[in-house]
């Protein structure tokens, strides 16, 4: 799951926290932030695995979350009863389990078969319905808290305290809760502490009666809840890992491992394991060092049948390794004792990058299709270069593409073709199988795919195989079919690179095509001039509305600050995990660096006398940072510096903008505008700007927007230093 979004909410809370001084009784307000961030993570994770999620799902959930929280806070403002604040915690507590169980029940309510994909329309509708009550209640809490505090001016302080709570909630999740506590237990915990909070505030014993609701739900459902989305299929294991929810489904003597509702592999599945190993191994004349990234233990067992020197198995998620090795049937247990097997828990990309000398004869990628930016890192030209360096001279990189039968449709052609073309741009020799096998093989020396040669080689090595047979070579490498695939995929010219990760957007297209949706396809038609035209059209009214008008310029600046800081953050984290690999704690550290920057930025600008002027300089700095940051992508340390600067600039902008308005009441408005900006900044770059135009152009767009915003600020301070007229 994209942790960019996990931390996203924490970010804007913390920004607010840093701008406001605190002299208030803090506990209930800190608690709101703490509880709501954990609830949000819970809901996001549950929805993500219900829909076997991709990047788009997260965007959908967050959109609704924001809208509902906004609506909730509008509604809460009308309730002018002080004690209502205490009961809002009870309300949340009561709503947690129905929401969680509602999400778990979505699949059966929609009568979706186990493993059936969910159409986009149903994802939108069911998300909109299930999270509504809980989000409204969460949104109500903020205005209720202000009323409870008794002084309207406390709003800012309460924002701040919430942020602190959210920050700690996030920390707690990252380092303690994830991979230890499952979502049902976490829900119970959250329900109970919300009632405790209500008790603490209202000091009425009667409230403790409400403890009974979550407890009843928990005892009735905690055992059945994991299997609810599976329609009564046998869920033999359900584990929470940092990377999502792992479920093991048992059908007969066969177990299937799912991560976030997405089928990773089935074990034992000898037919699949054999074909995915014996076919590529036979392509190599003398395989002895094999690197396997991801996949089932069944494949490792097949590989160990060969007289290889070493098999290195790399998997990022320790829980997946634990779970899959716990499933080993007796006859496969021996692989655990085999000294040739070397298991490494690390991001595969990072591992490949680190291997400095050519060591491998084969690199087998057993990864899902690139439906997220994170998996896409294994399908870029940059990764293929790294793989090339890790391979010996005649080494072969092996990957799988989505399969077809008889005909490769246009969306699959685009999705597979962009990968095929990217591989070809790096390796001098690329071979494919017929479309039913979905194999892609790349090397710097010719790969012999003549069936007779392979048949003989396989017969010589004679590994024991039940379902794989040497005749398969004739089928997989039948010249007519191979030529068809090469011709069809060769028509695509797109390249998938780290800085322009296009394949995942094509993969999303393929996914929407399944439900006949063609809307996303229009995205592909977007050209740079469309974006420029669109931005110009948006900016012309802004020019008329905000030119020489201080308040409006500031509001516009705040929206663009939210947008640009989030865009930068998304770009930097995407680039970082592409170049240096994905490390859970490291991404946490990057985020923390940004936050330290935020704090520093606000601290430095706290006492400024000319906030508007400083704001202008900071706007200009954003432009410079956006344009130049790409020059620093080649050093790991630079990323921390970039994020630190970005944080400082953002914090400074936020603080100076608030100060420049000169009014405390505008805090709420700024809060909202910043929210809109950050949200679009998280969504638009990751589904449009970056995949279609690349990170560099995305940053140029940011620079363009910020230049305009800087001009607006400039117009209201320097050019016309007359007293401003605030029309608002």
């Amino acid at each position: 799951m994209s942790n960019i979004f996990d931390i996203y909410f924490m970010l804007f809370y913390i920004r607010l926290a840093l701008t406001i001084k605190n002299n208030f009784s803090p506990i209930p307000f800190i608690f709101i932030g703490f509880s709501s961030i954990l609830l949000q993570i819970t809901v996001l994770r549950l929805l993500f695995s219900t829909f076997s999620g991709n990047e788009l799902d997260i965007g959908i959930t967050l959109s609704f979350w924001l809208i509902y929280v906004g609506l909730g806070s509008l509604f809460g403002k009308r309730i002018r009863i002080r004690i209502a604040f205490a009961y809002s915690f009870v309300l949340i507590s009561v709503l947690v389990f129905p929401t969680v169980l509602g999400i778990k029940a979505i699949r059966s309510l929609l009568s979706l078969q186990p493993g059936e994909l969910v159409p986009l329309s149903l994802i939108v509708i069911s998300t909109a319905i299930t999270i509504l009550p809980l989000c409204l209640a969460t949104g109500m809490q903020f205005p209720l808290a202000v009323i409870y505090s008794g002084e309207p001016k406390a709003a800012g302080i309460i924002y701040g305290l919430e942020a602190v709570g959210a920050f700690f909630g996030g920390l707690l999740f990252t380092f303690l809760i994830s991979s230890r506590i499952n979502m049902i237990d976490l829900s119970l915990f959250l329900s109970l502490i919300n009632i405790l909070a209500a008790l603490y505030i209202a000091k009425k014993k009667i409230i403790s009666f409400f403890f009974i609701f979550p407890l009843i739900f928990y005892f009735v459902f905690h055992e059945t809840a994991p299997s609810m989305p599976w329609f009564g299929l046998k869920v033999s294991q359900n584990v929470e890992s940092r990377y999502g929810e792992i479920a093991v489904i048992e059908i007969k003597n066969q177990s299937s491992i799912y991560l976030n509702g997405h089928l990773l592999f089935t074990y034992p599945d000898k037919p699949a394991a054999e074909i995915k190993t014996h076919l590529p191994v036979t392509l190599h004349p003398s395989p002895s060092e094999i690197l396997v990234i991801g996949g089932s233990p069944g494949k490792i067992r097949e590989l160990l049948k060969y007289p290889v020197d070493r098999i290195t198995f790399v998997e990022i998620d320790p829980e997946i390794v634990k779970v899959s090795f716990s499933l080993l049937v007796d006859e496969d247990r021996e692989i655990l004792k085999d000294k040739r097997l070397n298991i490494i828990i690390e991001d595969g990309r990072r591992f490949v990058k680190k291997s400095v000398k050519p060591e491998y004869d084969l690199i087998l990628l057993n990864l899902p299709q690139p439906s997220t930016s994170s998996i896409n890192r294994f399908y870029t030209t940059d990764f293929f270069e790294e793989a090339k360096n890790a391979l010996k001279k005649n080494g072969i990189l092996v990957l799988s593409l989505p399969k077809a039968a008889g005909y490769i449709g246009r969306d699959m052609q685009l999705s597979n073709g962009s990968i095929y073309n990217s591989v070809k741009s790096v390796f001098t020799h690329v071979e494919v199988t017929s479309e039913e096998y979905g194999g892609l093989f790349a090397s710097m020396t010719p790969i012999n795919t003549i069936p007779e040669v392979l048949e003989e080689r396989f017969a010589e090595r004679a590994p024991h195989a039940e379902h794989f047979h040497r005749y398969i070579f004739y089928d997989a490498f039948s010249p007519i079919n191979v030529n068809y695939v090469k011709r069809r995929l060769g028509e695509i010219e797109f390249l998938n690179t780290d800085l322009k990760p296009s394949a995942y957007i094509y993969n999303l297209l393929l996914w929407t095509e399944i439900y006949g949706g063609r809307t996303l396809r229009h995205l592909l038609g977007i050209k740079v001039w469309h974006i420029i035209l669109f931005l110009s059209l948006v900016h012309i009214p802004v020019l008329f509305l905000a030119f020489r008008r201080k308040m409006r310029s500031i509001y516009f600046s705040i929206i663009t600050t939210g947008f640009s800081s989030m865009s930068l953050m998304v770009s930097l984290i995407l680039a970082y995990q592409a170049f240096y690999g994905y490390v859970y704690e490291m991404i946490g550290l990057l985020t923390a660096t940004f936050m330290i920057g935020l704090w520093a930025g606000t601290a430095i600008t706290r006492k400024t006398r000319e906030p508007l002027k400083i704001l202008f300089y900071l706007e200009v700095s954003t432009v410079i940072l956006a344009v130049t940051s790409i020059l620093f992508f080649k050093g790991e340390l630079f990323f921390y510096l970039l994020l630190l600067f970005s944080g400082m600039i953002t914090g400074g902008q936020f603080n100076t903008a608030s100060l420049a308005t000169g009014k405390m009441e505008t805090a709420g408005k700024i809060y909202g505008l910043e929210l809109i900006g950050s949200f679009t900044g998280a969504l638009i770059p990751s589904i449009i700007f970056i995949p279609l135009f690349g990170i560099y152009n995305a940053l140029l767009f940011v620079a363009g927007i910020k230049t305009f915003s800087a001009l607006m600020i400039y117009s209201s301070i320097v050019l016309f230093s007359q007293p401003f007229i605030d029309p608002a």
Partner: protein, 324 residues
């Protein structure tokens, strides 16, 4: 005068207003006349082993010139060919291949038969029919793999030229057809009976999908129906489900389920039962009398063939099928 038309080809019986396209996406009402949008425009053209269709009792070891156009009368959630079957003809890249050319190509590729396959040949009925007529004249056999969702009249007409049909019997309940395919079972059963009556060589494919149609009670019921209505000699292929289309997150069928289905079918009295989509000894043909291996298959390849003149080499039992 109303310019609405009703298509009488399949049980969907689409009633189309002017310029409306049928559910199968391959037919359109243009000015009151029903037109095929796919005639002579296949998007999939391959030379395949006949075993791939799958046919186990029809000219083993030969190749079939295989064609398909876009469109399908059903919409099964597990379709492996969804990229053409669920596509609109205009969204696919096609070849220009009129019936005569199909036959010429088949001959030049030394194919013994033409196969109307991959998607649902019903949707390109006219194209299939015209090609079949020419092929028959040129001594090329005609085969189809179909879901059997065709009305009686067009199907009867087609049987005059169709030598063999492999029909998908996707499940054995109306509920399954309604939920998973948006269709119904009855017309399929009727087609099976009709094809048998008309002496078209018939084989049946049943894709066994975990949790959806893998109940052995239902499989037994289906096999008994086949024995009773079509006879013991109809070959039945139990095919392994692999995650596809809308069911990409459903696990593949356990091998155990397939062998159980095979045993169940044997118990029910069927003589020729195959396991498909997987390399397994159940791909081979065994003599129902002496139990010896008649045709040893590995995938689409024939390792040995012990049938001569339609009889078992070992015990001379007659083996139903088209062997020459």
């Amino acid at each position: 005068m109303s310019k609405r038309v009703q298509c009488e080809l399949c049980p969907n019986s689409c009633v189309l207003d002017l310029n409306e396209v049928s559910r199968c996406r391959a037919r359109m009402n243009k000015d009151g006349t029903l037109y095929s949008l796919v005639y002579g425009k296949p998007c999939a053209v391959h030379v395949d082993p006949i075993e791939k269709k799958p046919f186990s009792h029809f000219l083993p070891g030969t190749t079939a010139f295989s064609i398909a156009t876009a469109g399908c009368v059903l919409s099964c959630k597990f379709c492996q060919n969804w990229q053409i079957s669920q596509a609109k003809p205009e969204d696919t890249d096609t070849y220009d291949l009129p019936p005569e050319k199909v036959v010429t190509h088949a001959i030049s590729h030394t194919c013994r038969s033409i196969s109307y396959t991959y998607t649902e040949p019903t949707v390109f009925y006219e194209y299939m029919y015209d090609t079949a007529v020419i092929a028959r004249r040129k001594k090329i056999r005609n085969t189809m793999h179909s879901c059997g969702y065709m009305n009686k009249k067009p199907l009867s007409k087609l049987t005059e030229y169709m030598d063999a049909a492999n029909i998908d019997l996707k499940g054995f309940s109306e509920d399954f057809y309604a939920k998973m395919c948006n269709g119904s079972l009855k017309p399929v059963l009727d087609s099976l009976v009709l094809l048998k009556e008309k002496n078209v060589w018939l084989e049946i494919t049943n894709l066994v999908i975990p949790t959806l149609n893998d109940d052995m009670k239902k499989i037994r019921e289906m096999c008994r129906w086949i024995v009773k209505n079509l006879g013991r000699n109809v070959p039945v292929h139990f095919s392994r489900f692999l995650p596809h289309y809308k069911l990409t997150n459903l696990p593949p069928t356990p091998v155990e389920t397939l062998t159980e289905a095979r045993a169940t079918a044997m118990e029910a009295g069927l003589k020729f039962i195959y396991i498909g989509n997987i390399r397994h000894k159940g791909e081979s043909t065994y003599c129902p009398e002496c139990k010896k291996i008649l045709i040893e298959r590995i995938g689409y390849f024939i390792k040995r063939n012990n049938i001569s003149n339609g009889r078992c080499k070992f015990c001379s039992a007659s083996v139903p099928g088209i062997w020459s």
